[in-house]
Symmetry: D2
Subunit: 139 residues, 4 copies
């Protein structure tokens, strides 16, 4: 435990605690404190995104890699936004289908715009952008 | 506080606690315990829905009430599922637009099926089903 | 069909059309056009919310009505925001649990703030705000 | 256009078409057909996940890599589920924060279980699982 940990007491109705303990055991948590810390961090991340701070976007797109121009087009878009695109991963799902995961950094508005350009490409079958935190202030 | 409350201690990194305290003050929570209890209940409700227990559905639909047959059609569907439809509320948004909120009880699968029938009606412009708990076991 | 309907042609891969036709039949849609119009409206509603136009919020809260002060507190909050709160519906779920659905109108930021005040009240077990369109421009 | 494309006509209210055309232009779509195909695929993917077919999970987790045991623990969990974990990507966000994106294949229930084990590890600050399609049948 780091020196900056603060302890405090809280109360929970008995039955709710029983249910929560069963819930966190099923999920594999080591203890109640850790599970509650995760719930708290989730609430803070949701707030970060609402108030439009700099966050991360995890975009995944599903596409047919046999359409050669598409791969070039996607690479081109990513380079045009290289200052915001941190990394990408390519997974070969089967003969034709690829999954690409792209990590983008910026304000929610900018991330959405960059993601939209890729999602709109012909040949991109499906995809979804998920906004998350860049981890700062969540210790 | 009811007699069944259980107290326990937990620890949080100092900076995270600062952020959380600011967060719950902005949201209007009276104290940390109450805010954490709400996070715990939310996690439990999400689990209830995943494992397909009996839950509630809050469906809202937007439609044009001037299409008289539509209103009759929606009423008909609701009556055909009357054993699962608990209540509904009708709001007149403007000359043509109505919002109807319908509360449905049952398994997630059954609730989705009932909601789909209404959402699919011609004239229903938009709508969304939100699954939630029936409140049992959340004290 | 109203006079303002515009027809246009579109193409779909054969297998995708088969899957989509099965999908919309299962959901109860009368025809493909109507199902596609619903998908289009959904995309537009999501955009409205992103760009912070005036929208509607459908808030539901679960609480224990036996806590008399809570009911008063919730009524008080609703009156304090009466110019944005359009309507509310109260459902008695069992001896202790109530579901209240409240329809709020305004910008997403304002709606969230109003909802947060109610969600944060002690005794409100769970709830969720869902943002939607006010129906304008979705014909 | 592949030989299997099928053309059909559909109708849209004039004003809705105007709004939709503006919407897809802002998102960078080349034409209306492509934008509507994407909406159709999204509806099908959502259905796949509801009925529990084999799908993909894109899990991202945020953690502090300086906790050496954590990295080992996460690797261990991934190896224990290696038949379902297809690939992973690691991004160094700053001195302490890492983002890891893990692609998991299986039924939604199995994917959730595997993701939960990683999310529950002490030191994993935040994360989220997003279920998507494996691309089959979406051409």
């Amino acid at each position: 435990m780091s020196e900056s940990m603060v302890r405090f007491g809280m109360s929970l109705p008995g039955k709710l605690m029983e249910r929560f303990d069963a819930h966190i055991e099923a999920r594999g948590y080591g203890n109640r404190s850790e599970a509650i810390r995760d719930l708290i961090r989730r609430a803070l991340v949701e707030e970060e995104i609402e108030v439009n701070e700099v966050v991360l976007g995890v975009l995944h797109i599903l596409y047919d890699h046999s359409k050669r121009e598409l791969t070039e087009k996607l690479t081109e878009i990513q380079h045009a936004h290289h200052e915001h695109i941190i990394s990408s991963m390519h997974v070969h799902l089967d003969h034709v289908n690829c999954l690409e995961v792209i990590v983008i950094k910026g304000t929610p508005a900018l991330i959405r715009k960059t993601a939209d350009r890729m999602l709109a490409e012909k040949g991109v079958k499906h995809g979804k952008l998920y906004l998350t935190s860049d981890g700062k202030g969540l210790d």
